[in-house]
Point group: C2
Chain length 245, copies 2
């Protein structure tokens, strides 16, 4: 390698004369980072691999992005850009709208299960353009439905908290499963002994497992978790309404 380097300036000019004007852009970097994260997970994202995926050197990225941390902020905001706030047809339908956005958000977080840990590190990147747009539109929707600005803000924040918290644990499960490289069946089978030891000392949990596997017999697992997510969301919404003033 080092030897080649010594001669390279002699026997050949760089074969592909580098067009020095932006062959690399911040957008390209961010979208490629997301692709890499989706494909291989959060621990597989390194500046070197990302550069490689872009046919570029690792350190070239630093011309367009200050940090890996900043890159992650950009990534988070970009992903929030996948969400779009539903339109409110009549003021009474704010509840459906909030539910729809919550579902969109859960789907997005499950599409990109690596976001959860990043969110904890990077905050919600509150000032990213997409996050700002999302907050603003959501606030407008609730305003149209009769919420005051502060009420609407509180509603959005609480709803986001529930969705993120819930989906984070789902995503962590999915990640663990993916890392193990096993099917869900094998995975469950593998930790059955630990399960049984738990049930032995905590019979109440055993009864819960029985009741659940009975109630869920024959149902699809994604159907089940959809329903559980909705149930919790509905509890939250049942306690929420605009004050008439």
């Amino acid at each position: 390698m080092a030897d080649e380097q010594v001669f390279s300036s002699v026997w050949a000019r760089p074969e592909k004369t580098r067009t020095a004007r932006p062959t690399l852009s911040r957008e390209q970097i961010v979208t490629e980072a997301i692709k890499l994260l989706d494909a291989e997970g959060v621990e597989a994202l390194s500046m070197r691999k990302l550069g490689q995926a872009l046919n570029a050197g690792a350190t070239s990225l630093y011309r367009h992005v200050a940090n890996k941390d900043q890159l992650l902020e950009l990534v988070v905001d970009e992903v929030y850009g996948e969400l779009c706030v539903p339109v409110l047809e009549s003021p009474g339908e704010w509840r459906q709208a909030v539910r729809a956005l919550a579902h969109e958000m859960r789907a997005m977080l499950l599409r990109h299960p690596w976001i959860a840990p990043i969110l904890g590190l990077v905050g919600s990147s509150y000032l990213g353009p997409n996050v700002v747009r999302l907050s603003d539109e959501m606030l407008g929707l609730l305003e149209d439905a009769g919420f005051s600005l502060t009420e609407g803000n509180a509603t959005v924040k609480s709803m986001f908290a529930y969705v993120i918290g819930w989906t984070m644990s789902e995503a962590a499960w999915l990640l663990a499963l993916a890392r193990s490289g096993q099917t869900e069946q094998e995975w469950l089978e593998q930790m059955r002994p630990a399960m049984e030891r738990v049930v032995e000392t905590h019979p109440r949990l055993g009864k819960l497992f029985e009741a659940q596997s009975e109630a869920n017999a024959g149902r699809d697992t994604t159907e089940i978790s959809d329903a559980e997510f909705d149930a919790g969301l509905d509890r939250f919404l049942d306690g929420t309404r605009p004050t008439n003033h």
Copy 2:
């Protein structure tokens, strides 16, 4: 260094004859890891530093812990051990009990703001003894209050989701603030320009900020966030009650 190594076996036996029976234990490692995480944050926890803090070599830790990942699982469960489920004095007081646990949990997560990103990586380490104990006791409490097992489980899961989601964003803020090494005032002042640019294009957000700073004038910031957390929690609880059957 290497030279010294050659002679070391000659001019001296190891000064402190290593007692080969456990000078190191899994518990010590976990508690020291937590101390380190609290003191210096998640990116400061390395096996070498942890070993150093324990007067041990980095690789010695691997005799007691399989992985860094496993260590983090142990850490998470240990921290959950700080929580204790309140006692239910009468069946009607389940609401206060749930609120109390939620508060405990939020306080714990803010005491250890590094957990949020770890939780996303490691799952909730569902089978750790402390997590299991917590779930079981909480389930028992709600059972005494008239919830069925599946209802109680759904309630606990949803409540945890809200608390984790909410507190994660609080914790991320605290972490960012701590990393910047500035006071909250300086920090806010520093990103005022970005704030103003946002307000310019999104006047609704500007009105929200005004309304909030007016409503919160003179109040302590921790008092404010406590109240906001409680408000969201109450919405959730308002939509939750045991079915009489």
